[in-house]
Amino acid sequence: MNRPESLPQIDHGVLRFLTCGSVDDGKSTLIGRLLHDTQSILEDTLHVISNTSRKRGLDAIDLSLLTDGLIAEREQGITIDVAYRYFSTGTRKYIIADAPGHEQYTRNMVTAASTADLAIILVDARHGVLPQTRRHSVIAHRLGIGHLVVAVNKMDLCDYAQSVFEGICSDYLDFARLAGIDDVRFVPISALKGDMIVERGDHLAWHQGPTLLEILENAPAAHTEHAEPFRFPVQYVCRPRQSDDPRLHDYRGYMGRIESGEIAVGDTVTVLPGGRTTRVVAIQQGGVSLPAAIAGQSITLLLEDDIDVSRGDMIARPEALPQVSDTIAAELCWLAEKPLDARRTYLIHHTTRDVRARLTGGMETFDLVTLHHVTTDTVRMNDIARVHFRLARPIFADRYEENRATGAFIVIDEASNDTVGAGMIL
């Protein structure tokens, strides 16, 4: 079968972004507007929300109803969990993580931010930069989101005044300097009226910069901005010994996804923890051999020497190995209602490796508003704290700042099997 004509000629891949703001900042309306103006809302869905809007006595369609999810949420008028939405412009596919904005929901924002390449921080033009704006920005920055877009919403309620927008930009930049955030863009919008989101509209002629969608279309995707070292955590080993094909009796394929960097046939690699060095003799994907592969691809590696490799091992290049360590310092976001118990042993899941871990040394919580660390002896849900772990076996890690995939881990409570913490290696 031929490749269809309708596949986009230019494909800028996938951009994942996160929207942060409270119910009152117009976040749901913004998402509804993006979906609506990119023609991503289908007729029957529009029909349902226009009926609901009418039932609630509204004149126009309430676009925020598009992101209204579960029964419990509708009853309480709140968002209880991260929801994912999709739209496509023909050149790029977008995945929106819609995180609730309440103060107590830091854990949801951390979850949504963990996979995002870009964050839209919503500010209400009437209220300016609030403590919550700062909290959201700091979380997005700490979670390694390279690009922040401050969207100053409800410009229609401030007569579209340029001075209001510029005042907010200046306040935000003062805070961003303190927080060490350097990649910020600003855009004045009205989600309700649709100004400067997909269309420029008539009211913000003084704004010379790009619309919100133009910013999204041009934002670099993950892994494109700087050269990263090759990291290949082994997920699964393929040994089809019982196959009818005798050529496969000695086949050993190491399956996984390239988390960063790239690899080509003939490259020298080192397998951790053993430390043996060998060469890549083949790269395969679904039975097809590739000359090379890049970050993000799920592939199978075949190595020249017969080395004992299993799930949880890491393949890297000898000249740029990750840290092999059995103690780590990390910034930990606590996600569970039950506070962190310093006496207990937890399970850490890092890349494809699970290791038991115990806390050692002191803990400091991080204040998202003052940006100060404070010594503490309890870490509760939604706290972000600096901690130290001693591990039962070493992991192969990088600093989170340098590599999100090999710098991140989750903490699992072995009694409940719940995911209770999210960690970033310092």
């Binding site: 891949g13 679904g286 691809q297 995911t419």
Partner: protein, 306 residues
Amino acid sequence: MTTIFGASHVLSHLDWLESEAIHILREVAGQCENPALLFSGGKDSIVLLRLAEKAFRPGRFPFPLLHIDTGHNYPEVIAFRDRRVAELGERLIVRSVEDSIARGTVVLKSPNESRNRHQSVTLLEAIEEFGFDACIGGARRDEEKARAKERIFSFRDAFGQWDPKNQRPELWNLYNARVHKGEHMRVFPISNWTELDVWQYIAREGLELPSLYFAHPRAIVRKNGVLRPVTPLTPAREGETVEIVNVRFRTIGDITCTAPVESTAATVEEIIAETATMMLSERGATRLDDQTSEAAMELRKKEGYF
């Protein structure tokens, strides 16, 4: 393969989605002891099988295929299912709602009612019978708003229930598939795909589909803007007008609750063109069971439905 390779390090959107799904399937294989993949012969599960081939060949799949048969299937779909399984040389387990009815664990209110909802009972019985700790399914978040909030690795308690307020946080690409005995995970590798992505992937990979997905003439009656196929299970009622219309199915499930849409799209390319400009969402147009109430899917999922 990878577009723009070398020039810029960007995977095309289909390569990105494919890679993510393969990674998820391999995590199931790496973390779970006894998983199964749900295969119905529908387009989403056909995509899952191709992804499983890409994830595990030249090895065998590290899981059997499982079909929960409502007994209300189009015969073409069952024939397709069996042919595809034979080509792959993998193991298929079929468990049927009919058997649950005979056992008395499914009680019908009327003999010809939709068995879509009753699949949950048979599925949970199969999970218990084989001790599966994970079931891989082809659900997507763009299908429905309860799905939009579900995790890729979605925990089910000992009663098979989904609790939307108590889901495990899912961060980065680090999945936690740990369960106690009797509990299980539902895993959705194509969570982040839209209907258009699925069709574009079917085209790119040249995947074969049951003929029902392509435009064909069929006897239908029109009811509240939805086309109801006229079949022995769903005969025309008195006063209804039977028409022969060119239709195709966008989703395939239980005969009594899956409706076709009017279409002349006879090839995958034509379906893609139609999907790109489609004005009705997939479930809205074609699933008679989701129209019952705005929250129908959420309620069924809480009971153990896929």
